[in-house]
C-alpha cells in the first residue's frame, strides 16, 4: 500500500504486514529476506518508517502489560500511543515525563527517535525515562536491554531509528501530576538575542518553547513568543477547572477537509499570519492557565493538519546548534530563510540541555524546526541551511529528515561511523533497513 511519513513526502508503495503479537513479529522477521523496518503511527516526517519490501505496522501490538501505581512505571507494547497512555493514566495522576509536540506517536517510535519535548533543558529526552526495552534482533533473539543489561544495545536503540532491531515492549516512567492543566507564561521577544536571553533566564522552568517568526528580517530577525509552562497544582485551578481536573470533557476535533491548493501558503499569507500571530501574542503576554492539550498539542486539535501543504507534501528542517555558536548559526539560517521567502508559520525555537547519547539527536544548544512546502527550490534551500548548521557544529533530527545526503550527515555527526560499524557487526544492517537508512547509507 502507498505510505508516507507525516510530511507526505516521499511516498512509496510498501508491502505492509500487521502482526498482532510478538510471535507475529518473529515470524515476519523469519520469513523476511530483503530487510524490513518497523513503523509506529507514521509521525516521523520523512522516510524513516518506509520500506517498500516490507514495513511492519506495529499498531497491532498495543497492549498495556502492567502499571505500577507507586512508581508510575508502565510496561507496554511498542504500538501503544502516548495519547492512549494519557487517556488511561492522567485521570490517575500521571503524565508522560517527556512528550513531543504530538500525542499521536507510538511508544516504539518515540524511543526509536528518542523524541524530546519542551522540558529537554531540564529533564532530557524520552529515553531518559525508559527503564528497559525488549528488542528483537537480526538473529531472531529477543533481548531485554537497559542501562545495566545489554547497555550497548539499549544505547544504540534509543535514537537508533529502528535500525538495531524491532522494539517490542518497553518500561516507561510517567511523572506524577496533580491536574491536567498547565500554568503558561507568554513572553514576547522582539529579536533573537532577547528570545535567547529569555530561554537562558528560564532554565528553571519545567517547560519552555518558542514560536519564532522566520520571515521577520532586519532588526526584527528572530522575533519570538517564548512560552513557559508548569504543571498546575490543585490550588491553581478555578472552580470550573477544578470540576474538570483531568481535562476529560471532550473537545471537538477540527480537521482539514481537503488538501489546500499549494498557492494558499505563499510568503505573503505566511508573513501576514506571522505578523498577526506575534501581535496577538504580545497582547496576551503574561500568565494563563490552559489545558494540557492546548499547551502541548495545539496542532493535534486539527487532525490531518499536514494536508495544508497540499498534495506535494512538505519537508521539515530541524537542527540543533551548540550553545556557543547558536546565535551566529541561527542568525545566518534565519537570514537565509527570510531571503528565500519560503518559511512557514510553524517554526519552533527551543533551548536544549546537555545530552550524551550514542546516536540521539539532542545536544546542549538551540534547536530550530520549521516546515517548507515541497517545491522545486526546497532541496536547494535545505542544502544551504544544512551547510550553515554544519559550519556552526550543528546536527540534524533524523525523525524529521527526508532530504539529507550521506555526505552532509557524516559532516554533521562523527557518531555515524560507529553507528554503521555496529550495524554491520551485529547483522542489523542486512535486516533492518528503511528508505532513510538507504538514502543516508546507515
Amino acid at each position: 500500500m502507498k505510505l508516507s511519513g507525516w510530511g507526505r513526502f516521499p511516498q512509496a508503495e510498501c508491502a505492509v504486514v500487521r502482526p498482532r503479537d510478538v510471535a507475529g513479529v518473529e515470524s515476519a522477521l523469519a520469513r523476511n529476506a530483503g530487510g524490513l523496518i518497523a513503523r509506529g503511527n507514521g509521525r516521523a516526517y520523512g522516510d524513516s518508517a518506509l520500506n517498500p519490501a516490507q514495513t511492519l505496522d506495529m499498531r497491532g501490538l498495543d497492549r498495556v502489560l502492567a502499571f505500577d501505581e507507586q512508581t508510575g512505571q508502565v510496561v507496554a507494547e511498542a504500538g501503544v500511543l502516548l495519547a492512549d497512555l494519557i487517556e488511561l493514566f492522567l485521570p490517575r495522576g500521571w503524565f508522560p515525563s517527556v512528550t513531543p509536540g504530538t500525542k499521536f506517536v507510538s511508544l516504539g517510535g518515540a524511543i526509536a527517535s528518542d523524541v524530546h519535548g519542551k522540558n529537554h533543558h531540564k529533564h532530557g529526552s524520552f529515553g531518559a525515562f525508559v527503564d528497559w526495552i525488549d528488542v528483537l534482533g537480526s538473529d531472531g533473539v529477543i533481548r531485554r536491554a537497559s542501562r545495566d543489561e545489554e547497555a550497548e544495545l539499549f544505547g544504540w536503540t534509543v535514537g537508533g531509528m529502528g535500525l538495531t532491531g524491532v522494539i517490542l515492549r518497553a518500561a516507561l516512567r510517567l511523572t506524577r501530576v496533580q491536574t491536567g492543566w498547565i500554568k503558561q507564561t507568554m513572553r514576547p521577544a522582539p529579536d533573537l538575542a532577547t528570545a535567547m536571553a529569555l530561554f537562558e533566564q528560564a532554565q528553571d522552568a519545567t517547560y519552555s518553547v518558542g514560536w519564532i517568526d522566520c520571515l521577520a528580517s532586519g532588526a526584527a530577525t528572530g522575533r519570538s513568543l517564548v512560552m513557559l509552562g508548569e504543571h498546575a497544582t490543585l490550588s491553581d485551578l478555578t472552580e470550573k477547572q477544578h470540576a474538570d481536573r483531568w481535562v476529560e470533557k471532550s473537545r471537538g476535533k477540527k480537521s482539514v477537509p481537503l488538501d489546500f491548493p499549494s498557492f494558499a501558503l505563499n510568503s505573503l499569507s505566511v508573513k501576514a499570519f506571522n505578523t498577526l500571530y506575534y501581535a496577538n501574542g504580545r497582547r496576551q503576554a503574561g500568565a494563563s492557565l490552559i489545558d494540557y492539550d492546548s499547551y502541548f498539542y495545539p496542532l493535534d486539535a486539527i487532525l490531518e493538519w499536514n494536508r495544508i501543504y497540499g498534495r506535494t507534501g512538505f519537508a521539515q528542517f530541524q537542527c540543533v546548534i551548540p550553545l556557543k555558536a547558536s546565535h551566529a548559526g541561527l542568525t545566518a539560517m534565519l537570514g537565509e530563510i527570510a531571503r528565500s521567502g519560503q518559511g512557514s508559520f510553524l517554526a519552533v525555537l527551543k533551548r536544549m540541555g546537555a545530552q550524551d547519547s550514542p546516536f540521539s539527536f539532542p545536544m546542549e544548544g538551540y534547536t530550530l524546526a520549521l516546515d517548507f512546502p515541497m517545491r522545486q527550490q526546497t532541496p536547494g534551500l535545505f542544502a544551504e541551511l544544512e551547510a550553515i548548521a554544519i559550519d556552526h557544529g550543528g546536527r540534524f533530527y533524523l525523525a524529521k529528515d527526508s532530504l539529507l545526503t550521506p555526505e552532509r550527515l557524516r559532516l554533521s555527526d562523527p557518531r555515524v561511523k560507529a553507528f554503521t560499524q555496529m550495524r554491520e557487526a551485529s547483522g542489523a544492517a542486512a535486516r533492518f533497513r528503511s528508505l532513510q537508512s538507504e538514502r543516508l547509507a546507515l
Partner: protein, 246 residues
C-alpha cells in the same frame, strides 16, 4: 452486580477492541478463542488499563459438539455476547478447494450461528441478554472478489435478523444486534490500500458496538457512509452488476 461480556473470537482486533470498550465501562470480561492461553497478554492489558476482571476460555467455533459444554463452563452466563469469529480465506483458493470453501462458510456462518443458538436459549430462560453478531457488508451482495466469504456473511446476517425477530416477537427480553463494520484496519486487511474515509480503526468499532448495545440498536454500520454505499450497490440491476468488477 457487575455486568459481564463474553467476547467470542477474542484474538481478533475487533474482539479486543470490543473487550476494551466494555471493560472501560466496568464490565467483567470473558475472553474466548482457540488457544486461549495466547490471550494472557490481552488479559494483562485489560487489567492494567481498566482494572477489569478477566477470564480466559477455550472455544472452537467449528466444533459444534463442544458448544453446550463451553457455555455451561463460563463463570456466569454473560449479559452481553459479542461474536467476532470470522475467516476470509483466499478467494482464489475458495474457488477451487472445497475444503477451504467449507471452512470459510462454517467459520462465518455455521459456527457463530451454533454458538448463538445455545446462548440465545440460555438467555431466554433467564429472560435477559444481548447478542452482538459481527457480520459484514460483503454479505449484502455477492461479488466476484469474495463471494464465498460474502455468502457466508449473508447467511449469518439473515440468521441474526431472524433470531432478533423470534426473540423480540415473543418478548423474551433478549436482543440481537447486527454489526456491519465496513473496512477496518486489522490483521485481516493488512497491506490493502483502503480508502481512509471508509476505513475504521478497531477501537472505533469497539466503541460503536458498546453504544449499539447500550441503545438497543438492531443493525449498525460502524461508519454511516457505508449505508449509502451498500444501498447503491444493492440497487445496481443484475444484468449490469454481473459485468462489473467492484
Amino acid at each position: 452486580m457487575t455486568q459481564s461480556v463474553l467476547i467470542i473470537g477474542a484474538r481478533s482486533d475487533i474482539g479486543i477492541a470490543a473487550a476494551r470498550a466494555f471493560a472501560a465501562k466496568g464490565y467483567a470480561v470473558q475472553l474466548a478463542a482457540r488457544n486461549a492461553p495466547a490471550l494472557a497478554d490481552d488479559r494483562k492489558d485489560l487489567i492494567a488499563r481498566y482494572g477489569a476482571q478477566v477470564s480466559l476460555h477455550e472455544v472452537d467455533a467449528l466444533d459444534l459438539s463442544s458448544h453446550e459444554a463451553f457455555v455451561a463452563g463460563l463463570p456466569v452466563l454473560p449479559g452481553v455476547v459479542v461474536c467476532t469469529v470470522g475467516f476470509m480465506g483466499e478467494q482464489k483458493q475458495n474457488e477451487t478447494s472445497l475444503a477451504e470453501m467449507a471452512r470459510v462458510m462454517r467459520s462465518n456462518f455455521e459456527g457463530p450461528a451454533s454458538l448463538f443458538t445455545v446462548l440465545a436459549n440460555k438467555m431466554v430462560a433467564r429472560g435477559s441478554g444481548t447478542l452482538v453478531g459481527i457480520s459484514s457488508v460483503a454479505g449484502e451482495r455477492g461479488r466476484a472478489a469474495n463471494y464465498v466469504y460474502g455468502s457466508a456473511k449473508a447467511g449469518f446476517t439473515a440468521f441474526l435478523s431472524g433470531l432478533r425477530n423470534r426473540l423480540a416477537k415473543d418478548k423474551t427480553g433478549v436482543h440481537v444486534v447486527t454489526v456491519l463494520p465496513g473496512f477496518v484496519r486489522t490483521a485481516m486487511t493488512q497491506g490493502l490500500d483502503l480508502p481512509a474515509k471508509l476505513t475504521a480503526e478497531p477501537a472505533e468499532v469497539g466503541n460503536a458496538i458498546f453504544k449499539a448495545v447500550e441503545k438497543g440498536k438492531d443493525v449498525i454500520y460502524v461508519r454511516p457512509v457505508w449505508q449509502g454505499i451498500m444501498l447503491a450497490i444493492r440497487k445496481i440491476p443484475e444484468f449490469q452488476f454481473k459485468k462489473m468488477s467492484i
